[in-house]
């Protein structure tokens, strides 16, 4: 586990100009990401209007009344309240290359949390493997980022991925629709396409961030191999050569494409992240291009 901070200060300063974006409008929620033209409950002052009967007396501008003897009502900008949730995979399969893949996923999660905190968004983080773990809600500004880093740093790997169970728990726990960011390798022997489809059908906007290490996509080993599944401990003995490696990579890419199709088909987005790339390139490259953040 890394001992230092997940993200350094220079990188965090660069993140401050970014904002998390979503595309869908969610039933029962006011606003989207952009500032609303309508007045309502909020903290940012928008305008004055004449007082009408039934208006909230707390919004009356009493100073103006004392001077003009007319009642004016202060109107405030409606603030978006779309919930942002983040699921981070802590299954054993994330332990590739000595935990480097999981460390990379944590950094990615921390970067997105910081972007959300800077824009006063509230993000609920939930780890998962076979089931959903205890989460953390982060919000209230950038000065609340330190607990987020502590929380992410304290996450531990373990368990076998069970997307179906996780999705069932998530839907039953979080009834309100919103943006759902899933940072995972999406490697579940039972398959994760169907549970993800459930989430999309329920009304969540999916942002799938698939993290893989180089050995996940292009295994460096050749010859006689005795393979052990990190989660199930299933074994497979085979001879592996260059041609087989090509076939392996093709199969992996095919799976990536299927995840991407699933996300796009349901109005969501997909970002494939190789842990070999610098995290700055991913944030300001892939995530910006796919309009996850801007």
């Amino acid at each position: 586990m890394p001992q230092g901070p997940l993200l350094d200060r220079q990188f965090l300063e660069k993140l401050e100009r970014l904002t998390i974006h979503w595309q869908k409008s969610f039933n029962g929620l006011v606003g989207g990401h952009n500032n609303s033209r309508f007045a309502g409950g909020g903290q940012e002052f928008l305008d004055h209007r004449h007082f009408h009967h039934g208006d909230d007396l707390r919004a009356v501008n009493w100073r103006a009344y004392l001077r003009l003897e007319k009642m004016f009502l202060k109107m405030f900008q409606v603030e978006p309240r779309v919930p942002v949730r983040m699921l981070i995979d802590t299954s054993e399969s994330m332990n590739s290359e000595g935990g480097f893949k999981f460390s990379y996923a944590r950094k990615l999660a921390a970067a997105l949390c910081y972007v959300g905190l800077v824009r006063l968004d509230t993000i609920a983080i939930r780890p998962f493997a076979a089931r959903l773990g205890e989460g953390m809600a982060c919000g209230g500004g950038r000065h609340r980022f330190s607990p987020v880093m502590d929380y992410l740093s304290a996450l531990e790997l373990g368990g076998r991925t069970n997307y179906l169970e996780v999705v069932r728990q998530f839907i039953s726990t979080h009834q309100q629709r919103g943006l759902l960011i899933i940072i995972s390798d999406f490697l579940d022997d039972a398959g994760c396409e169907r549970p993800l489809q459930y989430l999309a059908d329920f009304g969540h906007e999916l942002l799938l961030m698939q993290v893989w290490s180089e050995e996940d996509r292009t295994p460096p080993w050749l010859g006689d191999l005795d393979l052990v599944d990190a989660e199930t401990e299933a074994r497979l003995q085979l001879q592996f050569d260059e041609a087989a490696r090509d076939a392996y990579t093709r199969s992996f890419d095919k799976y990536r494409n299927s995840l991407q199709q699933l996300a796009l088909r349901n109005g969501g987005r997909y970002v494939g992240v190789s842990a070999a790339m610098p995290i700055e390139d991913i944030v300001f490259g892939s995530l910006v291009r796919s309009r996850v953040i801007a």
Binding site: D229, E233, A234, L236, Q237, F240, A243
Partner: protein, 636 residues
């Protein structure tokens, strides 16, 4: 069948060191590698066959066998496996041909042939006796062991080198020659042949240090030791009369019977002395002569009658002329200075009146007695009480009736000077520079000053021959010191010696420091030398003249006498003697390393073609066949 380059033990060690890692690497390369992966779903999709072989079974054994056999073949090639016997192996021999000075002696059997001719014949016979495949190095041995050829199989080149071998001026150093030969053979240990020595075995000194090598062969050249010759001649100026040369000569009888010889000395072609000597066998006689001359010339010493080795019957020495210092005294009162100047040996003084003063363009030494020269002298000069405004060293003041205070110390100019209650009637006191040597001083300052430089100057503030100083012993001593300081080469003690080339040992005077010693050859090039205590040694391998300068003495060595032997080297009983019979024992042997190297290379190439380059192809073929087998087998 045998190995040329390696012993059997070395071969087995190398074979083990090669085969064990190969087998281990082979097994490691074909062992199954356990690997934890994130998922197996894509591996299954890679469509690879499950492995059905058991792990403990060696796969592709032919590949392993082919590799091992090929490597062994290559190792055999490196070890140079040969068919035949080791005796048939080409070998490297070293032939030590004695070229010491004694080899110029007559053989005794034929008056026209020398020992060198006999040795050359034996060397030629030895070369002819060698197998054609053997190589030979010719080493000429005298005081130094000098290789004349490298290990050479070209017989014509060897015979030319043997024919060009001639006696040198030094005695044989057998120990060094054998050590050199052994060292050369160590460089090719598997081809070690013989070390053959050809010569009479007369050595400079029997140190008896090391046992001769086991592969030594001696081809003795018989010699007759009946020889009587000059051992050394030395000449030096007589201590009592500088015009006389004392000559010391040493004659040695190397033979077994007493010899009656006559030693004649001639100088410049004229007889200078002769002496009859009866020299007992194995001993030396020393005789002395005296030769009066101041001139230079050649001193020759001749021993008669001549014997079988005439090279040490005659010696020539070059005697240098006695040096003289030309001194011109300009004085209107020459009688005042004459007793002082003429008392000095090796000084040729000319007295001239002051009016005839001319600056000498040759820069010879002048004495200027109380006058102002129109031009300054161009060489060294002694100024005696010059006019105050013409003094080369500024005059500070003039004093009268002043007591002389003291002489300087620590300078060669002041060696031995001593006076008591000396009073100067009238004298200058000089304003000396810091580098000036203040020879004599009164209480107010220096009155006799020496100024070193390119032209050395000594200035007297008073006329010593007209003062009370003329009664003192210090006066001639002071002038002697001044002349010695101005012309040191004039007072250099010279001697000459004729001795043999080789190591020359000389005893230095006790006051001579080693850094003051120079040794030069005839052409002026310096010769290396060593000093230990007051003993100085240098080596000259060739005849010639060597000049040794130490302190104020010079010795000229005419190294014209040959260095003869002091002892006879006797080969131990086990040493082989006479010409070898190589050809009879020679059986043809055959090299196999080319064939072995070719087979080894072909084996490795075949292994690579069958199992290395096409490994992927073979495996893909196996994969296609495995389609018929059950699918992936999971252990859990």
């Amino acid at each position: 069948m045998y190995f040329l380059n390696l012993s059997l033990l070395q071969f087995l060690a190398l074979a083990g060191a090669l085969t064990i890692p190969t087998v281990l690497l082979y097994l490691l390369g074909r062992s199954r590698r356990k690997q934890v992966v994130a998922t197996l779903r894509f591996w299954v999709a890679a469509d690879q066959p499950a492995v059905v072989q058991r792990r403990k079974k060696i796969q592709q054994p032919l590949s392993l066998i082919l590799q091992l056999v090929s490597m062994l073949l290559l190792l055999l090639a490196i070890a140079q496996l040969r068919l035949g016997t080791p005796l048939a192996t080409p070998r490297d021999h070293v032939l030590i041909l004695d070229t010491s000075a004694w080899m110029a002696a007559g053989s005794g059997r034929n008056s026209h042939r020398t020992l060198m001719d006999e040795a050359r014949d034996k060397a030629g016979a030895y070369v002819k006796a060698l197998p054609a495949s053997d190589r030979l190095m010719l080493v000429r041995a005298d005081g130094l062991a000098t290789p004349a050829t490298s290990f050479e199989s070209d017989r014509a080149k060897l015979e030319r080198a043997i024919a060009q071998s001639v006696p040198n001026a030094t005695a044989l150093n057998m120990e060094q020659a054998l050590a050199f030969a052994q060292h050369e053979q160590v460089l090719s240990p598997n081809r070690t042949g013989e070390i053959a020595y050809i010569g009479p075995g007369r050595i400079a000194a029997d140190t008896g240090a090391a046992a001769p090598p086991k592969n030594l062969r001696v081809l003795a050249v018989p010699d007759s030791v009946e020889n009587c010759g000059l051992r050394k001649i030395a000449v030096r100026r007589s201590g009592t009369d500088p015009d006389v040369w004392d000559i010391y000569a040493s004659v040695r009888n190397y033979g077994t019977v007493p010899r009656a010889v006559t030693l004649s000395i001639t100088f410049g072609g004229g007889p200078a002395g002769a002496r009859k000597l009866n020299v007992p066998p194995g001993s030396e006689r020393e005789v002395t002569f005296a030769c009066r001359t101041r001139a230079a010339g050649l001193l020759e010493a001749t021993l008669s009658p001549h014997d079988a080795f005439p090279a040490d019957d005659h010696a020539v020495l070059e005697l240098p002329a006695e040096p003289e210092l030309a001194l011109t005294v300009y004085s209107n009162e020459p009688e005042v200075l004459r007793p002082i100047v003429t008392a000095l040996p090796r000084v040729r003084a000319t007295f001239l009146p002051v009016a005839e003063y001319r600056p000498d363009k040759n820069g010879s030494l002048v004495i200027l007695d109380r006058f102002r020269p129109p031009e300054r002298p161009m060489g060294n000069a002694i100024w005696i009480q010059p006019p105050a405004d013409a003094s080369p060293i500024p005059v500070r003041e003039t004093l009268e009736g002043v007591p002389f205070d003291h002489w300087c110390s620590g300078s060669p100019l002041c060696t031995g000077l001593h006076t008591k209650d000396l009073r100067l009637a009238s004298t200058y006191v000089f304003e000396g520079a810091p580098d000036d040597i203040k020879i004599g001083q009164v209480a107010n300052g220096p009155v006799i000053v020496a100024r070193p430089g390119q032209n050395k100057v000594v200035v007297f503030g008073f006329q010593p021959a007209l003062s009370d100083l003329r009664y003192e012993l210090a006066t001639p001593l002071l002038f002697g010191n001044i002349l010695r300081w101005m012309a040191p080469e004039l007072f250099r003690r010279s001697s000459a010696a004729a001795s043999s080339a080789g190591i020359v040992t000389m005893q230095l005077d006790t006051d001579v420091r080693p850094e003051d010693v120079t040794v030069q050859q005839q052409d002026g090039t310096p010769l290396p030398f060593t000093t230990r205590g007051q003993t100085m040694r240098f080596f000259s391998g060739t005849p010639g003249t060597v000049r040794v300068q130490s302190g104020d003495g010079e010795t000229v060595y005419s190294l014209t006498l040959p260095e003869l032997w002091d002892a006879k080297w006797e080969a131990p009983a086990g040493v082989r003697r006479g010409l070898p019979g190589f050809r009879a024992a020679t059986v043809l042997s055959r090299d196999l390393w080319e064939l072995l190297a070719l087979l080894g290379g072909l084996g490795l190439l075949a292994e690579w073609l069958l199992y290395g380059r096409s490994e992927g192809r073979i495996r893909r073929l196996g994969a296609r066949l495995a389609v018929l087998r059950p699918g992936i087998r999971k252990a859990s």
